[in-house]
Symmetry: C2
């Protein structure tokens, strides 16, 4: 199989670029930094969307849709927010054949426009909490674009909520972060992630607190998979989101926002991929089982159709590969590139003995089994793959994370993985110096891996890495 | 119930505006012509999307995602296309803090950018047909915006396909139009629609043929609900979509495109609504049955919860209304405004006799039934409502469509409904004169209501109306 892709050890970025093209995941768009998401990758995104949408609705939020184009003046109302996003904005200055009186920004995120409508819709404490989510595209001009990970336009969900008290806002943001995002990553994407608090330097522009889930990629770098923000009363002040409390006082609301993007798909590719291509967790694999006709015969064709039918009945996403004009070896390589978790291969010789081959992408093992046992074994292989990919990723992360005592040690450790250091040994000054060497504080945790209430909590540990 | 809304007969546009606000469907956006889709309307859109997406996938198309921002030069490659869309474009001239070398248009539709990638992906006849669909937002600057019907930004699906022959392209466009869009309208939205061919004047910019589905609104005007275009080889020429045929010759592909938008939701509101508000077809109603506690008691609360549970088990979208602090009458008015198809009302007095009330939004009838029969009756009422709304709309359309013999008669008839006239009596010149009086040819049909192969086919009938 060697030679299909550059090996990950030799050149990880190149491996990633090659797999984008060869597995037909994405193409560069016509405008620098944009991308075309091809059907195979988009189908995985749809599976992720469906799971995430279900979890978000179960947490009580409702979907809505707000406009793409935002008056430039809206962003300026929250000082940190506009400072954070100004360098990345795409601006519409002309429309309908005329110059606009006020330029419009293509939304980089929707706190401002949603804040405007929250102010309109929230009157009384009875209107709270207001729990909204939106699936949308956003645009942030990227200087160093990379497909899925950092693109000028990306797809995401952005949740926006308003609450009567700080404690309720905090509680809801934590519920989304720990109760929606974290299990989506582990259960669906088979990705172990570290949950922590961002430093002030790394916080979202306009937030009082940002929580993150960080995952280790195959090359030891970190990818921020999901963030959830407490926005305090910053946007409530800027947009006048006030309500009359149960005691009749006018008060400012407390808001949150939280998002996950198509970047997560890049994470799935980079966490689980190997030198033969992708390895998709079955839960997000558009094709879970490929039933492959090695060489056709009436018996083979019949058995293949029967397997497709039986697997479909069990709710497995199955596809028939009967493209026998293409050499079998090339089809197998393609299925491996695309990370299809399980293949069932049928050829006349095996079948004459009543057998088929079940191949697992997880570990490239193949077993010959009686035809009648193939469906059960394929289902078992799917479950084992979902679990096995998680375990491999967790072991990789554990093997590549070290405790260090100094920033110098951290830089060294971050050449191949992550470092953990007492935040008291680093602090904002040390963080700035590390940043100059390309290492960032991915998050802060308590010594036992929980969410600290502040940076100053005793014993807080900083997780350090180079990041995408 | 009178007084909640302006009556439709008195002022249909005002009724529409009021129902937008009072049923919490949409708000005007901050930029002229844009809108905010509120959760209740968005939930209906999600149900429509799910049905449409399923039908499109069953027709073999795969979803993908193409960039929002398109180089201005792309549009210019197809002469009619750029002429058609130029006046409506929103243009990004600055991004990342700099003026761009080439302005970017916010996609008004994606034929051009998708054409560019089709050219890249299609090499051989084996790559055809290429069947793509995209769910996305598009922007067209509107001078006379109206919520859902005509907004500067709207949500839609746009299908784009490439085929080896004209016959295959035509066949696929017809399959989508008649086999996906038409049953979606009738079966899901309960909207009877007229399927026909657009005149050259009304054709999509760059198409060789446009098919449409036109529906009559409650005020007798027409709304274009779905269009499907044969693009001939126009975009294949402009973008170089060529393939090597099975005989080894390089040939130009034949492409199609087809779309439906959030405008359809406006159609649902305008076709089925009455003077008390919306009447949502159960298939797209976010809440199908509202279980209303008229006045609470332990028995009422218990029975209400039981009904919610039983209806949920049957797959009904049910919501409990136990907001007894709000007067019952106000809650009933609100449920009628929102068009919830069925309400089950529970009060202590009725329940003491073992009864509840089942109210149908369709005809505002209420029947008292034993508690144990309520679930069955509610389900029956849902089925009857889905069917009943279709029949009412079909009867309304039939009652307001007249055969006419002259353009003058047509203008008169189109004050309250639609007119049908022999196309040979009108022709492009008559069409232009009618347009000056606000009447347009919605579509051309054969005498028996089928799709004509050309405008010149003998006996072709023009369907005329004022349109949104």
């Amino acid at each position: 199989m060697s030679g299909v892709l550059t090996s990950r050890a030799a050149d990880f970025p190149r491996w990633y670029q090659e797999v984008m093209a060869k597995a037909e995941l994405a193409d560069s768009g016509p405008v620098r930094g944009t991308m075309v998401i091809r059907p195979y990758a988009y189908a995985a995104w749809e599976l992720m969307q469906a799971d995430m949408d279900r979890r978000i609705k179960a947490a009580g939020a409702e979907n809505a849709y707000f406009p793409l184009l935002i008056p430039e003046s809206y962003l300026a109302r929250e000082a940190e927010h506009v400072d954070g996003f100004s360098p990345e904005l795409a601006v519409v200055t002309h429309a309908g054949g005329k110059q606009l009186e006020e330029p419009l920004v293509v939304r980089p995120t929707s706190e401002t426009v949603i804040g405007e409508y929250m102010a309109k819709w929230v009157q009384s404490y009875r209107d709270l909490p207001l729990l909204l989510n939106q699936w949308a595209n956003v645009v942030r001009w990227e200087l160093r674009p990379r497909m899925f990970l950092r693109t000028t336009e990306f797809l995401w969900q952005e949740g926006h909520t308003a609450h009567a008290t700080e404690a309720e806002a905090r509680g809801y943001a934590q519920r989304i972060h720990g109760g929606v995002y974290a299990p989506h990553l582990t259960d669906l994407l088979a990705i172990p992630a570290v949950l922590g608090r961002k430093t002030e330097r790394e916080r979202f522009a306009g937030a009082t607190n940002t929580m993150t889930l960080e995952a280790m990629m195959g090359d030891g770098k970190a990818l921020q998979m999901a963030t959830s923000h407490e926005l305090g009363q910053n946007f409530a002040k800027a947009f006048g989101i006030t309500f009359v409390s149960s005691t009749g006082r006018e008060e400012l609301a407390w808001t949150t926002s939280w998002g996950t993007t198509t970047r997560m798909l890049g994470g799935v590719f980079m966490v689980h991929g190997d030198d033969n291509g992708l390895r998709l967790p079955p839960a997000v694999a558009p094709v879970q089982v490929l039933v492959t006709v090695v060489r056709p015969s009436p018996e083979v064709d019949h058995a293949a159709e029967m397997l497709v039918e039986q697997l479909t009945e069990r709710g497995v996403r199955v596809r028939l590969d009967a493209a026998v004009d293409t050499p079998f070896g090339r089809r197998a390589v393609d299925a491996e590139l695309k990370g299809i978790p399980v293949r069932v291969e049928l050829g006349p010789r095996d079948l004459a003995e009543g057998n088929v081959v079940v191949a697992r992408r997880l570990d490239l093992t193949k077993v010959t089994v009686p035809l009648m046992g193939a469906v059960d074994l394929a289902e078992k292989a799917l479950a084992e793959t979902q679990q096995g990919l998680f375990e491999l990723a967790a072991a990789h992360a554990a093997d590549h994370t070290v405790e260090v005592a100094s920033p110098d040690e951290a830089v060294e450790a971050c050449r191949t993985g992550w470092a953990r250091i007492a935040w008291s040994r680093l602090g904002p000054a040390g963080e700035t110096r590390l940043a100059e060497q390309g290492v960032s504080v991915r998050c802060l945790q308590t010594p036992d891996g929980a969410l600290p209430e502040s940076e100053d909590e005793p014993g807080v540990v900083a997780v350090l890495a180079r990041a995408y």
